[in-house]
Symmetry: C2
Subunit: 498 residues, 2 copies
């Protein structure tokens, strides 16, 4: 019996017994079995499948089940439908097998740079092994609210989902953001708000609006590293202003402003990344004064807003609250506290610039997805978000002081223990580039992702500092690694000095 | 009795009778009534609301209902919660009332430009009055599939939704796209595919990767207008190659290539926007030859892919199928045929460039939203999408020939009646800028949005052509307008010649 004999017979009854008791639906059973027989070449390409009716009769299932199964097989490239002639087994185009995303991080080697770190952050590693990450563990976030909101949007009038959204962003969300901003004492009408795909896109849009290649953008040093790469890609020069515990070094800010005539100064006023410290009121006022003198537009990135307990509890001065969006462009979003995946951020600015940015957004991406914006609107307007944010803060408060003590015990120094936020900026007393490479490449167990201080400086010079996420330090392997490394270092220093 | 007397009493029993029979939930009844009384200042700011327990008892509802209502009132800025002290009526920050999006289009005036047209396209006008639109009416799309997919994603493990996606895009979707491309004879592994927020973002990313200010990008003339603005915003010079019914004017293409040394040539091979014509095989080959000679990278925008019945039925040659992603970067997406709002598109290119673009995407927007990508994956893999696309094509086929006949009857000329697609490129015999302004500003009834030919040319010169969407021409007002205008024009011409 040759293969050519098997094919027609097999095609006549391509599937064995189907079970109504199985967890798998009848449709999926058919799909799986037919696909397997095609893969194993028991069903030959070019041969005709039985008609819907005949298949249904011979297997005792409804024609609808067969139609659904055949459709899925067409979608997966196993069958093709020839109009009027029925379904045929496809000559499958050579498809290279699906290559899974490697679960081990890439070796850093000499390419330890911003892109390397960010790429590794997106690897699907268990959260416990990523003290260098900038996000909270998934189970800290309010997955149920997001899932509920998605289901509820799925139940709405479907046509809402089909058209392009409004380029400026979903209006009810912008109205809700107006209220949120009002509580921060920032007055902004919905016309002054433009939604973005996270703060990252907002920064990119603003930088493109304000700078041409060769222009200077001031950032804090240290600061969020991704924007260095983003601004450099636009041809901008990125110059760092030393950040002190209460804000930038004002003398240096004034000097650099006079020297470089920067177009923009990007700053986290509240819960600065990576130190989790906030701007003092006095410095906020001086920053605005210097910006006015040198005609610098300030970009206030307030992504950690909801991790701060509020200015009634702890001091926090927002530049936009002082300046009321004249010289300050305010950015924030929900990637840190609701769900990164929604990619919902926003810009609040003057009405005229909001309009220009909405036009620019059209040119860059047409619109942002309404869906994420509807989810955020629903969660914000239903009131559970406040409590959720408060729970996150309480939980972080509990971990933060414990983590700082533990860090000091294993030999790191924390000069400024922040009163809020998820980051601690710790001094390891050795080059943290080397430490990060050893953490990633350690022989036993999976790698540990650290965020070395060099990344947070626009100069990228080696640093003894690193950023640690207090919510991602639970794995004992992290502590074992730190203890071992820092003890060895100390031993090395001792042996050298002896 | 003064107001100050009313406040405390009112706060003690802030809501009248609640109804369990009402369609509105008890929670929402409380929210609505309390909010109204605060708005009308019957409940005064600063006064304390009754405790949860007391409110629940006095109104005969469960404490959970009251908690939910108070939470919503906090979220809406009516109440504030003071830890340990209860809920208080807020001193409301002066919030400017929500300004609705104007439902009438903006006057065109002298600013008839790309941004003007696009802005008006996003106004929420009934589809029938937008023959200039580039999308199909919402009811043509498969809203049920999108809504089903959203609900089903909302039922999945919530933690999936919380983290950032993979910057290159949701892997199962990229695997599905590999199969889709294989059917078009384009070989691409998932590593060669990067998802984008629609083709618009894909074009922006590619242009940023390949050009510096002053570089030239070739486009077809006419072509999709939004990219002119997008490229100009990058400082690129946008130069048009005359597009003939079977592809570009090759002699001009070679001349312009030699003259401008362009970095990129962006082309719709299949169902070119705005003419709905496709590239012939012979021209496709010559385009690649010229591109190789002058070292031009080709960007093949195949957004209308699924509106074409397939090359077995009608000729259609894709440059990427000939070149296999060596010199050709292939872009497509699902905004036209699934739902614009999902903002899911993709780039297929060489493995090395895919990696560079994924890094660039990180710098621009970190990641695209997983949610839209999961929706598209679900719809593509379940097989109903093919039939849906076929239904759309059949429906367009029916309308297209009828529309062409009707256009000719009212005095427009259609030189090349396209065999597929949604657009007809028609010659009105008069300046269509003028026609578009008159259509938008007509005295009776709402405006009609036309897409005048000038927009589709990088030179922006006045044109007698315009793009009409055959799916958006059903409103008799459109035909009355065209008939009247073109008759007047003819009468004017006659009176001039007499």
């Amino acid at each position: 019996m040759t293969n050519t004999h098997i094919a027609p017979r097999a095609a006549a009854a391509p599937v064995g017994r189907l079970s109504r008791e199985a967890a798998e639906s009848l449709t999926d059973q058919i799909v799986r079995t037919v696909a397997a027989r095609i893969d194993e070449r028991e069903l030959r390409s070019g041969s005709r499948m039985p008609s819907i009716r005949r298949f249904a009769d011979s297997h005792g299932v409804s024609p609808f089940t067969v139609v659904a199964a055949y459709d899925k097989l067409v979608a997966r490239g196993y069958l093709e439908s020839r109009r009027g002639a029925g379904f045929f087994i496809r000559e499958r185009a050579p498809i290279v097998g699906a290559v899974p995303v490697p679960s081990v991080p890439e070796p850093a080697g000499q390419s330890l740079d911003v892109v390397w770190l960010v790429r590794n952050m997106f690897r699907q590693m268990p959260h416990q092994q990523m003290p260098g990450t900038g996000v909270l563990p998934g189970e800290w976030l309010d997955g149920d609210s997001v899932a509920n909101a998605l289901r509820s949007i799925g139940r709405q009038n479907a046509s809402l989902l089909l058209n392009y959204g409004v380029p400026q962003g979903f209006l009810p969300l912008r109205q809700q953001l107006q209220r949120k901003l009002a509580e921060l004492e920032i007055g902004a009408t919905p016309e002054q708000i433009v939604t973005t795909a996270g703060v990252t896109q907002g920064l990119d849009m603003v930088a493109r609006e304000f700078t041409r290649p060769g222009d200077t953008i001031l950032v804090d040093d240290p600061a969020w590293f991704l924007m260095f790469g983003s601004f450099a890609a636009l041809g901008a020069r990125v110059v760092g202003v030393p950040r002190l515990p209460d804000g930038p070094d004002l003398a240096r800010l004034a000097e650099l402003a006079a020297l470089h005539k920067p177009k923009l100064y990007v700053i986290n006023s509240v819960l600065h990344n990576p130190t989790s410290t906030s701007l003092s009121a006095a410095k906020a006022y001086q920053v605005l004064r210097i910006a006015a003198e040198h005609d610098i537009t300030i970009v206030e990135d307030d992504i950690y807003c909801d991790l701060h307990p509020g200015s009634a509890v702890q001091p926090a001065t927002r530049l936009a609250a002082l300046d009321q969006l004249q010289r300050v462009i305010y950015l924030s979003g929900f990637s840190k506290t609701m769900a990164a995946n929604l990619r919902v951020g926003f810009i609040a600015t003057s009405p005229e610039l909001a309009r220009r940015l909405a036009d620019r957004k059209m040119l860059q991406t047409l619109t942002t997805s309404d869906i994420g914006e509807r989810v955020v609107y629903k969660i914000l307007s239903e009131g559970a978000y406040r409590k959720h944010a408060e729970r996150m803060r309480t939980r972080l408060d509990g971990l933060r002081s414990r983590t700082v003590r533990q860090l000091e015990r294993v030999g790191l120094r924390v000069d400024v223990a922040p009163p809020a936020g998820m980051f601690v900026w710790a001094d390891a007393g050795c080059d943290t580039n080397v430490l990060a490479e050893r953490a990633m490449g350690q022989a036993h167990g999976p790698g540990i992702l650290l965020a070395p201080g060099s990344l947070f400086s626009p100069s990228q010079l080696p640093s003894t500092f690193m950023r640690l996420n207090v919510a991602a330090m639970q794995d004992p392997a992290i502590w074992r690694f730190l203890e071992k490394e820092l003890r060895e270092k100390e031993a090395g220093a001792l042996s050298k000095s002896s």
